[in-house]
């Protein structure tokens, strides 16, 4: 993790699967490659562009991972989380 990016408040894009518990990010897009229906469903579940996602915790075996999005908690496998492109942000306290 580059300190410079942190200070600027925006870090390079990655996917939701790259985040560690406690980190949060904003959804940029959901990759529809090979699985358009999955992409659509993820958006319907709240992983829509602009939504803030927080990683709550991961299962003992590493997957699935529990996310907090749109005020509720839902878990995804890492394979699905890797379809969600996010921009990492340092979350100032209380920001939505």
């Amino acid at each position: 993790m580059r300190r410079r990016g942190r200070r600027a408040g925006v870090e390079p894009s990655g996917t939701l699967a790259d985040l560690a518990p406690g980190q949060s990010a904003e959804v940029v897009s959901v990759s529809a490659a090979q699985a358009p229906r999955t992409a659509r469903r993820l958006a319907e579940l709240g992983f829509a562009p602009g939504s803030r996602v927080e990683v709550v915790r991961q299962a003992p075996l590493g997957t699935p991972v529990l996310y907090r999005v749109q005020g509720y908690e839902i878990s995804l496998r890492r394979t699905e989380a890797a379809r969600i492109v996010v921009t990492r942000r340092t979350a100032p306290a209380g920001a939505r």
Partner: protein, 644 residues
């Protein structure tokens, strides 16, 4: 229970002219508790034609107005990606033959996740059917520091909005009264946008108008999850909960099953003592009473399983268990929720198959149902004990471990591994070519179970099991009895065979004579070519055939056939069948045969009930028979090399 919904009559839920209300909503939105409130004990469960999706229909009465209420499967979207979701869409479009299009829609929205569920509402409103909104969990929203102005939400949406709280009666009567006035409902002026940025903007504008503030994270849930999902404590708790769960359905149910068995044994004894002709006593005692008893004996297990399952589900733990197990189950192409169904099958495949209802995907349900009967159920136990008793001397040991126990453990392991691999195979076949279903699992806030819903969740499957399975199982036992007892042997025929039908000392020999000359014996000889490679002779064939109704029968039949051959010379502590002179290879083949063969009418009836057709029980029976035969041949051959 005044204005709400428990009218008289029963067979009228599909009556024409009665308005039909369909309940829709996201999973965990409180839809099923609402359905239970509205319809009480008068709900019926069936299947949508041609698909493995359960259908719940009930009726509700408000004053003079009566409704049919249909609880549609919980769904996140009307853009279907699974058969269950397609059913919701097809019901709304009225495209399923025999399932009329609903007149009224009631969309259940969980106030704590309303930002997400309003997206779903836009898709429903697009269907342009008279629609009302039911907001649930407003009490939880307030407790977690959120707020929602329900009258303002009603103005913003332009459709009637009611508010119900699961643990209180408040709201349900108003909702019922609201539904009764459905023809006076205003129509929304414009259908809201169902896609993209416009949809998000609409959702935000509605929430702003309704003065919505989102709830903070539930503190209790966060704290409990920190323990229950912890890598160490969470795993330990999980195993403890599952061990207790398994103990309950296996051990706690056992004495209850014992009572059922002794009750029916007592009834059978009454018949034996008081009914004159021996054949009639046998028909009533063995076939009718034995058949009904054979069904009722599963009921304590089913009721316990569904009680525990309902408690785990309603409290929110079941979702956590699925979360913890998903990685393991995904190795076999299944998902975390399949774990509980497969675990339950160790006690009995019937409740295990019924527990597949918690799986959201029909493909997963089928795959799990095909694997579940391979789990070593309690009915295999007496068969294993008998056969291991013949195969392995009681005192043979490997180090400190008894070989009998090791063989038993090996059979359990063989069953479990085969079940998982089979489920994986069926899942692969079902998934071929299709875009795989994404896995997502909501972890709802921990909630106190609603007693009424828990009791209904226990009662409904038990009732359905009794009603639908009694006929099938009773019918099968009757047929089996006839095969084993016809043609009837007259007294003259018995005397000419040197037996005295009046002498109690000859009773065993008489029944053995009847079996030996029965249609089943002819069948046992006729199927000889099939079982010859496994080394089964006609007597074993009869026992195997008779146990196609239920595995436990094998032991009883084998001892009957055994005594036919040997008279009453068998020593007291010898297992039945030890005088048949079966080679080690044949006994091993039999053991393996029982690991795989689907010899359980109750299981087939349960699969039939859950899938809505005989196709899947037929597939299960067929593949398991082929597998049983092949693996038994392998076992015989290998044991032959090893012993010889």
């Amino acid at each position: 229970m005044n204005a709400s919904c428990h009218g008289p009559g029963g067979g009228d839920t599909l009556a024409p002219g009665v308005p039909r209300v369909a309940l829709l909503g996201n999973p965990n939105a409180g839809k099923t508790s609402l359905f239970n409130r509205l319809t009480g004990l008068r709900a019926k469960t069936g299947n949508y034609p041609g698909v493995t999706v359960a259908r719940h229909v009930g009726s509700c009465e408000v004053g003079a107005v009566r409704f049919t209420v249909e609880d549609l499967p919980g769904t996140y979207s009307l853009e279907p990606i699974s058969p269950d979701e397609e059913v919701v869409l097809d019901v709304l479009d009225g495209t399923i033959p025999g399932v009329p299009r609903p007149d009224v829609l009631a969309v259940v929205l969980d106030a704590t996740t309303i930002r997400r569920s309003l997206r779903f509402l836009t898709q429903v409103l697009e269907k342009a059917l008279p629609t009302c909104v039911v907001v649930t969990f407003t009490d939880e929203l307030a407790r977690r520091g959120g707020s929602l102005d329900v009258p303002a939400l009603e103005r913003a949406l332009g459709v009637p909005v009611a508010c119900v709280v699961a643990h209180r009666r408040g709201g349900h009567d108003e909702l019922a009264a609201q539904l009764a006035r459905w023809q006076e409902w205003p129509e929304p002026l414009l259908a809201p946008p169902t896609e993209g940025v416009e949809q998000s903007a609409w959702v935000e504008s509605v929430l702003a108008a309704a003065d919505y503030s989102a709830p903070h994270q539930d503190r209790v849930t966060g704290a409990v999850d920190a323990v229950l999902l912890h890598p160490l404590w969470g795993t330990l708790t999980f195993f403890a909960v599952m061990a207790l769960f398994f103990q309950a359905i296996f051990v706690v149910a056992a004495p209850l099953q014992g009572y059922v068995e002794s009750l029916f044994g007592w009834l059978g004894g009454l018949v034996a003592d008081h009914v004159g002709p021996a054949w009639l006593a046998s028909l009533l005692g063995d076939a009718v009473i034995g058949g009904i008893g054979g069904v009722l004996v599963f009921v304590p297990q089913i009721m316990l399983l569904f009680l525990l399952l309902a408690l785990l589900e309603a409290s929110g733990y079941l979702a956590r268990a699925a979360f913890l197990m998903d990685r393991v189950m995904s190795t076999f192409g299944l998902e975390g929720r399949a774990f509980v169904a497969l675990l339950s099958s160790f006690a009995c495949a019937v409740p295990g198959i019924m527990a597949t209802r918690s799986l959201p995907s029909a493909r997963d349900r089928i795959a799990t149902m095909m694997g579940a009967p391979l789990m070593t159920c309690s009915a295999r136990l007496p068969v294993y004990v008998t056969l291991i008793g013949i195969l392995v001397p009681r005192d043979s040991r490997v180090g400190p471990l008894g070989v009998q126990g090791l063989v038993m453990f090996g059979l359990y392991l063989l069953g479990a591994v085969s079940a998982m691999l089979t489920a994986a195979l069926f899942k692969r076949i079902a998934d071929r070519g299709a875009e795989p279903m994404p896995f997502y699992l909501e972890l709802p806030t921990y909630r106190l179970p609603v007693p009424r819903s828990v009791l209904l969740a226990m009662w409904e499957p038990s009732k359905a099991f009794l009603r639908k399975c009694t006929t099938v199982i009773l019918g099968t036992t009757l047929v089996l009895w006839m095969l084993l007892n016809l043609p009837l042997a007259g007294a003259a025929e018995l005397r000419s065979a040197g037996l005295d039908p009046g002498d109690p000392a000859d009773a065993a020999a008489v029944s053995a004579y009847v079996v030996e000359h029965s249609v089943a014996a002819d069948l046992g000889r006729a199927v000889g070519p099939v079982f010859d490679p496994l080394g089964f002779d006609w007597r074993v064939n009869v026992a195997v055939l008779s146990s196609f109704g239920a595995r436990e029968t094998f032991v009883a039949t084998l001892s009957q056939v055994d005594s036919a051959q040997q008279g009453a010379t068998a020593a007291e502590d010898e297992p039945p069948g030890s005088d048949l002179g079966l080679s080690a290879g044949v006994v091993a083949a039999l053991l393996v045969f029982y690991v795989y063969a689907l010899q359980c009418v109750a299981t087939m009836a349960a699969i039939r009930r859950e899938t809505g057709s005989w196709r899947w029980p037929a597939v299960a029976w067929g593949y398991m028979f082929v597998l049983a035969w092949t693996m038994a041949l392998l076992a015989r051959t290998v044991t032959g090399w090893w012993a010889g």
